[in-house]
């Protein structure tokens, strides 16, 4: 058969004949990428900034999302009435020029800028603000919880004046408005579908916003693919001053696989890895000449201890757990983050240093156990520690804690839980594990935000609260603090709450300050982080208009 070689060429042809047609039945799809509104077709001179993150938003709708990746998009394509000060995060004017509070009627009145236009050229007016707030409350998703309990109605006083009537006093109202992004009411109404869940408002434009933006920001969305990527292009009609070398285009890709993101940065297909990169990734990339920085956020990593299940319902056990936590080692796993001294990170407004602090001391832990009701029955009361699958290196933190707890006599089990199940479990006290590990960040730069989400009864039943405190006294304190309009008073009340929590309840272990670790290719761009100007509100570091593209 040796002289059959010649025939082999014919083989390929023969096998091609029988090629598969099975997969020809592609459906006719509606285009998920939208036509660019402006001249966004990338010419060769255009600069592009390419980033990766772990999850891209589900929609461009600012009334829907509330995560750090959502914020990253919103801050670039939408604008709010106020924005956080780059230094301490306190509110400063943005679309609003000034505001006033009327204590008697509990009303905030805002004066609006007159030079603002939306991306389609429509002028920004008070009606847009009213539309956006009404819509936010109607949809009641995302950041709506910041306003639902307080905003009674929105009133358009004139084209440049708008008033919010509150139904109870709300101290951090101005700060919370940083998350209230203004939509282009005319564009939205034009693109609203009649059929929808919002009565006469139809779908309230939710379908349109699935892959379009309707804001006044420096960028606008040109392509949006759920769970994959989105693209932004500079808004030609922007009222503000475009950065000189700001990227003309931005592409954000979703990447869950750490190895791939690493390879992409190395192969030059990506400029910046956003979010929490693992310390080993950071180490290997920085060794290869890439830049990295620690960007502290207004949040912490918490071990949340279930105060309603055995044996963690005993405060001594919780204290023992706090003593069994090797804070230094944990912070080291995350590449050396600032330690936490209480439930609030020190950079956040309303932080108080006057708290009971715990250190890693197994002897003290044992002493606490001896005082507890479970001193003799530790073996029959196992402790379950849960963490979220694929959530960075929280597994390692849990492992360290578990190891320490085991060494002081507990029976410990660890479970890695998919995000969905994790949330499922947290909806009920009976399915919530003894301890969970999770990062929580403030919605607006003020201690109240964290305290409310972490410990108030009315925000119970989600992954931010495995403690199940349901402590009436604490609830009252939080409510009182939030409704205090005077900043100094509020700040003191926050301090009081922090003292109470760490001293008496000990519902959580505060490990370290949540710190993002972006890694980037310094040859392709320059940004505030590289200059050491790290902004407290994470997304403002990614305000692309401030970037300087190189080369």
């Amino acid at each position: 058969m040796k002289h059959f070689k010649k025939a082999l060429c014919g083989l390929l042809a023969a096998s091609m004949m029988v090629s598969m047609a099975a997969c020809g039945g592609a459906t006719n799809t509606p285009a998920t990428t939208t036509p660019a509104a402006t001249d966004s077709t990338a010419a060769s001179g255009d600069t592009i900034l390419r980033l990766t993150c772990t999850t891209t938003p589900d929609t461009c709708d600012p009334a829907k999302g509330s995560g750090e990746n959502d914020d990253n998009l919103y801050v670039n394509v939408y604008e709010a009435l106020v924005k956080p000060n780059t230094a301490d995060g306190s509110a400063e004017p943005w679309l609003a020029t000034e505001w006033a509070y009327d204590e008697a009627t509990n009303t905030y009145t805002f004066q609006l800028r007159d030079d603002v236009v939306f991306a389609d050229g429509a002028a920004f007016t008070a009606a847009d603000v009213k539309y956006s707030m009404d819509r936010m409350l109607a949809i009641n998703d995302g950041y709506a919880y910041l306003y639902t309990n307080y905003v009674d109605s929105t009133e358009v006083i004139d084209e440049r004046t708008v008033a919010f009537h509150l139904n109870q006093t709300y101290g951090p109202f101005i700060s919370s408005l940083e998350k209230f992004y203004i939509l282009n009411a005319t564009a939205m109404t034009a693109n609203t579908e009649a059929a929808g869940d919002y009565g006469e408002n139809g779908d309230y434009g939710t379908k349109y916003l699935l892959n379009h933006s309707a804001g006044s920001g420096a960028y606008e969305v040109t392509a949006f693919e759920v769970n994959n990527s989105y693209k932004l292009a500079q808004n030609a009609a922007w009222w503000g001053e475009a950065g000189e070398a700001a990227p003309k285009n931005v592409e954000m890709m979703q990447l869950t696989d750490a190895a791939t993101s690493k390879m992409l940065l190395q192969s030059g297909e990506v400029d910046l890895l956003h979010g929490h990169q693992e310390s080993s990734t950071v180490a290997s990339l920085t060794a290869g000449g890439y830049q990295s920085a620690a960007v502290e956020e207004y949040g912490l990593d918490y071990f949340m201890i279930n105060t309603k299940s055995q044996p963690t319902d005993d405060v001594h056990i919780r204290k023992a757990i706090s003593y069994a936590c090797d804070y230094d080692a944990m912070s080291k796993i995350y590449g050396g983050c600032a330690p936490a001294t209480g439930p609030i990170p020190s950079s956040l407004w309303g932080y108080s240093a006057d708290t009971t602090q715990f250190t890693y001391d197994l002897e003290k832990a044992k002493a606490e156990i001896a005082q507890s009701a479970y001193a003799d029955s530790l073996a029959s009361h196992p402790i379950e520690i849960d963490y979220i699958q694929g959530n960075g290196e929280t597994g390692k933190l849990c492992m360290l804690l578990a190891e320490a707890l085991q060494s002081v006599g507990f029976t410990v089990s660890i479970e890695e839980v998919p995000w969905v199940s994790f949330c499922d479990n947290e909806t009920d006290v009976s399915t919530s594990p003894n301890i969970t590990n999770c990062f929580v960040t403030a919605s607006y730069p003020e201690a109240g935000s964290l305290l409310e989400t972490k410990y108030a009864s009315w925000t119970l039943g989600n992954y931010n609260q495995n403690e199940w405190l349901q402590d009436d006294a604490l609830d009252a304190m939080i409510l009182d603090a939030l409704s205090t309009v005077n900043d100094d008073e509020r700040s003191q009340k926050y301090a009081e709450i922090q003292r109470y929590i760490t001293g008496e309840v000990v519902p959580s272990v505060y490990t370290f300050v949540s710190t993002a670790k972006p890694v980037w290719n310094a040859a392709s761009f320059d940004w505030c982080v590289a200059e050491g100007n790290i902004r407290g509100v994470l997304e403002w570091n990614f305000y692309y208009n401030d970037f300087t593209m190189l080369g």
Partner: protein, 340 residues
Amino acid sequence: MKKSGNMILKKILHMVFILLLLSLIVFSFIRLIPGDPVKSSLGPLASEDTIAQYRHQLYFDRPLLVQWFHWLTGVVTRGDFGTSLYTHRAVSLDIAQYLPKSLELCALAALLILVLGVFFGTLAALFKNTWVDNLIRFITYLGVVTPAYAFGIVFLLIFAYGKGAFPIGGFPTIPAEFVRTGAPALDCLLSGQFALFVKCMQSYFLPCISVAIGSIAYQARIHRSSMVENVNADYIAFAEVAGVSKGKLICKHLMKPSFIPTLTVYGLQVASLLGNAFIIENIFRINGFSQYALNVILNKDPYGIIAVTIIFGIIFSVVNMLVDIGVAMLDPRIRLRGGQ
């Protein structure tokens, strides 16, 4: 011809029946899930009212059969597979977004499996018991026993330092005006963007190879043994003595009958490609259907899971039907006995 038309019609009806049954079973299965998918999908802030309302909207508060029937009418009349609790939009939109590129990936992989599998199988069979055969057999053995993710990772490592010849970061952007089907390479072809097409194919190269390599190896083994069996058949000796030229002997007289078992196995390989592609899709950043399937399953998204299983069922059935037809075309014995 009319007979074969009837046969195909019969197969299609049979397929529809199986798919209906499949959807019903998945529906009952979904109802068995512990936990509340509706509640967890609405997030922590949703009120009881909203949840109840949403549950009603999704027919989750009605009897199983009513829900199933409602879903079925939706699918049949409007192509509406329900709303995903994971992406919060119509499942049909998700399918339209994710399926085309996955299908394209799998179609290309399927082509690779066929061409390379048959090529190496033939090579090994023709050089049976020589070093060529031994080498191919060794490599295909490795191919069969190595998990797909291992290949993906190896390729990723190798080509990450190749800088660009075969990109690892997904597809080039297809400008919106060219998007027709959602399958990038096909769209480029349809709109005549050949430069872009080449780029797409470059992007497809690594994931395709990674998805296909195990199947290529398996296919090569099957084809080799099928060829070896036929080489000893009387009709090959007869044709050889009768003076048929070597080329024709191999490409026609030997290849055609050897293809019958090859094709049957090929069908199974192709039908399972899509289901096994998720790791590769993840590694190579192809946000495709397989990845979507994994996500809806992990997120316990009822309508997503149903749609995903049905789509897989359809793909499997269609591929199998095509293989049956292909085998019948190759093998007159089947064709002339009326499909038995």
